[in-house]
């Protein structure tokens, strides 16, 4: 049971008449609060597990850590997708030691218990000594994760058997995922390769950062200068200067319900679907513009613009980032303590994409994103500077008031692209859940 004293603390302070929204810094640095988050948030919410394209064949599996729990995500020999805890029912050993692969069954290296790809116990590697019907109730099978559901091929688990459906949980984030997936004329897939790294900061600092339009210029000026030089080398005007003038006037950030939120903005990085930039050369222009024309035909001008031109950064509460900007990336943030996290990120792309657009997409991705990118690494530095500052000064509040407007639920409000309403949507949900209040609608 969560410590009542922590549940009763007012860690999020909202003063709508005065336009102030503050978060207590203990939310980023307290071991006690982190323990409560594990119980009241990570054991209750839907957490991302993997994408359907990662398990194409029967017997394919992935071993992943989700919300601190070691899981195996398997396409069973019967073709069903299942998620089980990666621990032998006998004495606890991890039964799957590889990160991914294809298996006929899973056998525990310790005493040789064997499970099939649905987790059913096949053998205890013993001729005698156990009651005949010891597994009659299935309790010695690999334990299934209580809930496994998907939306458009994105699979999530919940450790709460009574959780509302994934569909209800995702609320308006579903519509946003649709926009991202609709860039593909067919399916999307996870590309080979991943970025796996750590950050010495509270996981919520990366959530805040992942859709923060306000930090773009000071944090990423060196990336914008790189873009500008690249553009000018190809004889184009400074698209970046234009963008910076326009940034706050176009786009928006908005809450999508249940703590999810998204930023829509315009940054001329170029996008394989479907925004050509001069630095990519004239040969590929036609292909990108043809894709764009097909999108307009299929979805109409407005939605095509949202798919093709708008940079989309979304955080699905509490720890999943799906961005479609310089690349189409999914980033899972796994907290490992109050001031540390692991990050795993993958690249998504339309399955039917041409080889040269695929190459361009990947090149664009690593130019900014990941531990050696011209952008992400500077974000990481900012988060570690924040953690350092939060940990080493006796101050109480972080200020998240930019663009506060109106009354109502911060979880569904809209603000400018360089405001902080998206973070307020996140924190309002966090606050409800940490106080044990009713935080979900739908079933």
């Amino acid at each position: 049971m969560a410590d009542q004293a922590i549940r009763d603390r007012k860690l999020v302070h909202i003063d709508q008449p005065k336009g102030r929204f503050r978060v207590h810094r203990d939310a980023f640095r307290s071991a006690e609060i982190f323990a409560v988050e594990k119980e009241l948030i990570f054991a209750k919410c839907w957490l991302y597990l993997g994408h359907v394209s990662e398990l194409r064949n029967k017997g394919d599996y992935l071993a992943r850590t989700v919300g601190g729990r070691d899981l195996i995500f398997i396409r069973s020999r019967a073709g069903e997708l299942v998620a089980v805890f990666n621990t032998c029912a006998h004495r606890g050993a991890r039964v799957c030691r590889e990160k991914r692969g294809n298996a006929k069954n899973f056998s525990c290296p310790y005493h040789g218990w064997v499970y099939n790809t649905e987790g059913k116990l096949l053998s205890m590697n013993a001729e005698r000594g156990f009651p005949q019907d010891i597994n009659a109730d299935g309790s010695l099978n690999l334990r299934r994760v209580p809930r496994l559901e998907e939306y458009r091929g994105f699979y999530f688990v919940s450790f709460d058997p009574d959780a509302i459906s994934l569909s209800a949980y995702l609320a308006d984030a579903k519509g946003f995922l649709d926009v991202m997936c609709d860039q593909a004329e067919g399916e999307i897939e996870v590309l080979p390769g991943e970025h796996a790294y750590s950050i010495g900061a509270n996981y919520k600092l990366l959530c805040e950062n992942s859709y923060d339009g306000y930090h773009l210029l000071p944090t990423h000026i060196s990336y914008l200068e790189f873009l500008d030089e690249r553009n000018q080398a190809s004889g184009a005007d400074s698209a970046v200067a234009f963008m910076l003038k326009q940034y706050a006037k176009q786009g928006r950030a908005r809450g999508l319900g249940h703590g999810h939120a998204a930023l829509e903005s315009w940054v001329p990085t170029g996008r394989p679907v479907a925004q050509w930039v001069p630095a990519w050369g004239p040969e590929i222009k036609q292909e990108i513009e043809a894709t764009r024309a097909r999108l307009e035909q299929k979805f109409g001008k407005e939605r095509a613009e949202l798919i093709a031109d708008v940079q989309k950064n979304m955080v699905i509460f509490p720890n999943l980032v799906i961005n479609d900007n310089v690349g189409f990336t999914l980033r899972v943030i796994e907290p490992t303590g109050p001031s540390s996290m692991r990050v795993n990120a993958w690249a998504f792309a339309p399955v039917s994409e041409s080889p040269r657009l695929r190459a361009l997409r990947l090149d664009n991705f690593v130019s900014f994103l990941g531990p050696a990118g011209f952008g992400s690494a500077d974000d990481v530095e900012m988060l570690e500077l924040c953690q350092r500052g939060l940990d080493h000064a006796p101050l109480e509040w972080n200020e998240l008031s930019k663009g506060m407007n109106g009354e109502g639920d911060p979880r569904t409000q809209e603000c400018g692209p360089d405001d902080e309403g998206q973070m307020r949507a996140y924190w309002a949900q966090w606050d409800l859940m940490m106080r044990g209040a009713s935080a979900f609608s739908g079933s």
Binding site: K99, L191, P192, G193, E194, H195, A196, Y197, S198, I199, G200, T219, I221, S222, Y223, E225, F226, E229, R230, A233, R342, W346, A347, P355, R358, A359, L362, D363, F365, V366, S367, G370, P371, A372, F374, A377, D378, V380, E381, M382
Partner: protein
């Protein structure tokens, strides 16, 4: 065929000089070691065969053509390259240099490396095998390809890869 590429001493001296430029943060000079058609790549750390992985079909940690090699060097010298401000202290150790066949004016060379990076009070290390394709041009050795295959599964200890290996 170039005499330079026949000489182990000249090749090793070249690799040591590259390491020195990096440790001295003379990065624009380092970028000049590369040919105009050069690449500097680091495959995903979970790649099953990082020597053969292709940045056009799989996600790399770093995949630079010459333009971006130059941009990387230039950017890292700025105070606004926040991840490397203040600059890390680095020490590149290069060893186990193995020379491949000479083909025309090119020679494949492999070397083991360890790079120590200290920022603030934290020191981390990056270790692996570097695959070079060296070329002799106008009496000097240049790098046409450099691919660093790290003996790491994740950057859990290192966090980031903002220095040049």
């Amino acid at each position: 065929m170039s005499e330079l590429l026949q000489s182990r001493a000249a090749i090793e001296e070249f690799l040591y000089r590259e390491a020195e430029l990096l440790d001295d943060w003379r990065l624009p000079e380092w970028a000049e070691l590369f040919t105009d058609d050069a690449r500097y790549d680091i495959a995903s750390l979970d790649s099953e065969d990082p020597a053969k992985a292709d940045p056009a079909t799989s996600l790399f940690v770093l995949a630079d053509d010459k333009t971006r090699i130059v941009s990387r060097a230039k950017r890292l010298m700025k105070k606004t390259a926040h991840a490397e401000y203040p600059h890390s202290k680095t020490r590149h150790i290069t060893g186990n240099v193995r020379l491949g066949e000479i083909q025309g004016n090119e020679r494949a060379v492999r070397a083991n490396f360890v790079v120590y990076r200290t920022k603030g009070d934290k020191t981390v290390q990056y270790m692996g095998e570097a695959h070079y394709l060296l070329v002799a041009n106008d009496g000097a050795i240049r790098i046409r390809r450099k691919r660093c295959n790290l003996d790491l599964n994740t950057l859990a200890d290192q966090g980031r890869l903002t220095i040049i290996l």
